[in-house]
């Protein structure tokens, strides 16, 4: 497909910064109700009329790429179409409330929270779900903190979390942040967990094994029952990273596979917009033995007789209340998480229902398999589900990705996972039709077959041409003030930043 992105600007720069249009400096302290010693005496901010601002942001949006611009097959990111009506639902003025209202005055929002807790619990095969974590990585941190509280409660002396080499970077960082030693597990020859290596790694020190299933090249961990038994026998817990849950919707539930804790990436699986990098939401589900450790507050429901109803999604006769689980880890967010995102996720799940959810995993998996068939590239391992890692072979995957930009598609995640050489991790999701998949395949094939010169010159049809990320990191300029000052920190040189992706 022929494509040219909008490109505003002149010979030196693209769209001018707000500060380069016009600025005003005021003295906020002058005439203030506060005494002089408490106030600042200068504040300089851009000064633009509303039409100028509208044009500024419209132009910036035209120099950006979203799911509605075209294919966006970032592997492990699940870039689905975000249904419009969910925005309308979340913007309901009646839902725009403060979290400190008493429960009896917030029954509407509490009902949605409770119903979403139940939907997610059923989808994951879990007992209870907290909605508080504001992103996938925050969900991981919450889940591992719950595991830590569980072990501490039972006087289990645990010091290690096992993470496969193919896992998202967040898994490693989360385990370390929670104070655990990270044990990295090499990938097996078939791209899955190497069971013998796992047997060697699991010990009485194992607090948890963090697994993504299907894993980050789309492979289902066939030994999952044995893996769960091995970890459980050592007194460890099995953690499910929900990044790839889209492949399992209605067809497999982490709880049924022996997982004890899981997070859901609602901005992936449940189609809430990725927003240029967030906000997301990372609800965490747990089996019943761990429910007492969940963050506070948790939402529960009672019937007219005052009895607690543990499975009462979508009932009209219940009242809802917040409470603190008996051994709660406390809070992981200042309030109760990213409300707007949660409301959109509920609307999406309700619209799809059982049938739509099963349809989503079916189409996502068919699309990935169809696309892989059309590629003139090696796709190692299999059978894969909703995503696959093609290899660019001798060619630099980053170059292929840059060239793909010229064909009106967003490239996949590149150079990750690391055990696939020059990986191009591709997840088309269920939203693409056959024509779009054919166009996407054509872009892959044209790019990977291009000569070195063409690859090095790419991209040429995007707003900016190839950006020098190495120099940017060497001399960081992080604000318009820094551009004015042009103060570099040459003494602090760093290794080149690799353009890769991994997400939670």
């Amino acid at each position: 497909m022929r494509y040219d992105q909008a490109r505003y600007g002149d010979e030196d720069r693209y769209q001018p910064l707000l500060s380069e249009k016009d600025s005003t400096t005021v003295d906020p302290g002058a005439g203030s109700a506060l005494p002089d010693e408490l106030t600042r005496d200068s504040l300089e901010l851009p000064s633009l009329s509303e039409p100028e601002l509208a044009r500024h942001y419209t132009r910036l949006s035209q120099m950006n790429w979203g799911v509605e611009s075209g294919s966006y097959p970032l592997g492990s990111c699940t870039m689905k179409y975000n249904p419009k009506f969910t925005e309308e639902v979340a913007a309901d003025e009646n839902a725009a409330i403060h979290p400190d209202r008493p429960d009896e005055t917030s029954q509407g929002n509490l009902k949605l929270r409770y119903d979403l807790q139940r939907y997610l619990a059923d989808i994951g095969g879990m007992s209870e779900v907290t909605l508080q974590p504001p992103a996938g990585a925050a969900g991981e941190f919450t889940g591992i903190t719950v595991a830590k509280a569980y072990h501490s409660f039972h006087d289990n002396d645990k010091s290690e979390v096992i993470v496969p080499a193919s896992a998202h970077g967040t898994n490693f960082a989360t385990a370390a942040m929670a104070g655990y030693d990270v044990v990295e597990l090499p990938s097996g020859e078939d791209g899955r967990v190497d069971f013998e290596a796992l047997e060697a790694a699991v010990s009485e020190d194992t607090a948890a094994l963090m697994l993504t299933n299907p894993n980050t090249v789309g492979l289902f961990e066939r030994d999952i029952v044995d893996i769960a038994e091995l970890v459980h026998d050592a007194g460890g817990l099995l953690y499910y990273d929900g990044a790839n849950l889209n492949a399992l919707l209605g067809r497999g539930r982490p709880g049924d596979m022996g997982f004890d804790i899981m997070h859901y990436n609602v901005h992936k699986t449940f189609a809430t917009p990725h927003g240029g990098g967030g906000p997301g939401a990372g609800p965490v589900g747990v089996v019943s033995e761990l429910a007492e450790f969940l963050p506070t507050p948790h939402v529960r429901a009672r019937n007219e007789d005052g009895e607690i109803i543990t499975d009462g999604a979508n009932r009209a006769d219940l009242t809802y209340e917040r409470y603190e689980p008996p051994e709660s880890i406390g809070k992981v967010h200042g309030f109760d998480g990213n409300w707007l995102v949660l409301a959109k996720a509920y609307a999406y799940i309700a619209r799809l229902g059982d049938e739509g959810l099963r349809d989503a995993s079916a189409k996502a998996t068919l699309n990935a398999n169809y696309l892989a068939e059309q590629l003139e590239m090696e796709v190692p391992y299999g059978p894969f589900h909703h995503e696959f890692a093609a290899t660019a072979g001798e060619t630099d995957a980053a170059d292929v990705a840059k060239r793909m930009l010229d064909f009106g598609v967003h490239p996949p995640t590149t150079k990750w996972p690391e055990f696939v050489p020059e990986a191009m991790l591709t997840e088309p999701t269920e939203v693409e039709g056959q024509t779009e998949l054919d166009d996407l395949a054509a872009a892959f094939n044209a790019a990977v077959g291009d000569d070195e010169e063409a690859l090095a010159a790419a991209p040429s049809r995007t707003a900016a041409s190839r950006i020098d990320q190495v120099s940017a990191a060497r001399d960081p300029q992080l604000s318009w003030h820094a551009l004015d000052d042009n103060v570099g920190t040459d003494s602090e040189r760093t290794a080149a930043d690799e353009p890769v992706a991994g997400d939670d």
Partner: protein, 427 residues
């Protein structure tokens, strides 16, 4: 497509062993778009229709229409992290502008592209302090009057580190500097103070706090919110090493607790900053462009040695925050901040006229909110709040004898009604 893949049905593609495959019903009924929309309208209508005078860390300001309209453009809303900067210059520039606005407001040269909220930003500040001040101790000092969400989130963030959290007392609603001087010692690695405080008081002793931190080589973490920063003395000027707080007071209306974490710090901590940073760069055509930078700090490269596990942040809210700030401009933001002081002072004075009711409790300047004592009224705080709810108003209760009231341009129209109701309820 099935033919091309060589299967008769999608089900054949799934490699899930029978023993763990799910073939049951989830029991979630599929509904039409219209049905979901009306179901949720009915659900949300079950929230009581109250005028909220609520704050304590989550604020409601009027969000200009431009923000809703332009942030909803799908090129922004449906994009993701800018791993391919050439095709995502627009969002990168908007985040660079967000960082720049925070740099202006804090006076600190480094601001990241957002954290989840004020509480998690505080947790990250503590972990930053441990990294850059590891040799000088392990105690984080925070005020005793800290919102529980911040205290508990901080406790979870430091639980895996060597840090411990201790508190210091307030007097008259702000830092008790003598007690703080006693609390600070060689083991202090981070000293956190807020302005405005959780009770809305403007902190007068920030320079003393900064000096105490400096004396023991601890970091001074300054907590605030983006509107207040438009008026209060610049954090860098009073000695802040890190600024954390709420940024979504501009950009988001009341959203049941959803926010965005503001995080800024000194230049020498650049390589230890958590989260994403957008920097200026050059492209092949020698034009200035933007890119995510210093990514070697981040989890997707550094894994367990990353400065934080954060990946997805609050980018879209940060975009809205920048739009809102740009719409206001320097004049507008300074006005909004100053009116937050005037409205609080004005409403407190009116409430103070009521027999048996005193406001503000603290003899301090206030920003947006203040506490009210009903100690001399015949009803306690929860009875008063319940009575106000019957009149259609929501306020906080703080202990048995105090309320807390927050006033902005979004509820100012109802202050007369609130005062009248309060008079009636406490009579």
């Amino acid at each position: 497509m099935l033919d091309a893949v060589g299967v008769d049905s999608e089900a054949e593609l799934f490699d899930i062993p029978d023993e763990v495959a799910f073939d049951g019903e989830l029991g979630i009924e599929q509904r039409s778009e219209r049905a979901v929309v009306s179901e949720l309208q009915e659900t949300f209508a079950q929230n009581d229709d109250l005028v909220e005078f609520l704050g304590r860390g989550h604020y409601s300001h009027y969000v200009p229409s431009l923000v809703d309209n332009l942030s909803a453009r799908s090129e922004f809303l449906t994009s993701y992290t800018q791993y391919q900067p050439e095709i995502t210059q627009g969002f990168l520039q908007a985040l660079f502008e967000y960082q720049s606005i925070l740099t202006e407001l804090t006076g600190l040269p480094v601001a990241n592209a957002s954290m989840y909220d004020a509480a998690t930003a505080l947790g990250e500040a503590a972990l930053l302090a441990e990294r850059v001040r590891a040799a000088s101790g392990s105690t984080v000092l925070v005020p005793e009057a800290l919102r529980e969400g911040k205290r508990e989130t901080l406790a979870n963030y430091v639980d895996g580190s060597q840090l411990t959290v201790e508190t210091y007392p307030y007097e008259e609603g702000t830092v008790d500097t003598d007690a703080l001087a006693d609390a600070v010692d060689d083991d202090t690695v981070l000293l956190y103070a807020e302005t405005p405080t959780v009770a809305g008081a403007v902190e007068p002793a920030l320079e003393t706090v900064a000096d105490l931190a400096d004396d023991t080589d601890a970091l001074f973490a300054y907590g605030s919110d983006i509107v207040a920063l438009g008026l209060l003395e610049e954090p860098a000027a009073v000695g802040a090493d890190v600024v954390v707080g709420e940024a979504a007071s501009l950009g988001l209306p009341a959203a049941d607790g959803m926010g965005t974490g503001l995080f800024a710090c000194r230049d020498d901590f650049l390589r230890q900053v958590p989260g994403r940073l957008v920097g200026a760069a050059e492209d092949e055509s020698s034009r200035r462009a933007f890119t995510l930078t210093l990514q070697t700090r981040e989890q997707h490269i550094r894994k367990e040695r990353a400065t934080s596990n954060i990946c997805t942040n609050q980018a879209w809210v940060a975009l809205r925050t920048a739009m809102h700030a740009a719409t206001l401009g320097a004049d507008g933001l300074a006005d909004l901040a100053d009116s937050s002081v005037r409205r609080a002072h004005g409403l407190a004075a009116e409430i103070d006229e009521i027999d048996g009711v005193a406001a503000p409790v603290h003899d301090r300047h206030h920003f947006r909110e203040f506490q009210v004592s009903v100690a001399d009224a015949p009803v306690d705080a929860s009875e008063t709040a319940a009575g106000l709810r019957d009149h259609g108003y929501a306020v906080h209760t703080v202990g048995d004898q105090r309320l807390q009231v927050c006033v902005t341009e979004t509820n100012e129209h109802a202050t007369d009604g609130l005062v009248a109701a309060l008079q009636e309820v406490t009579a």
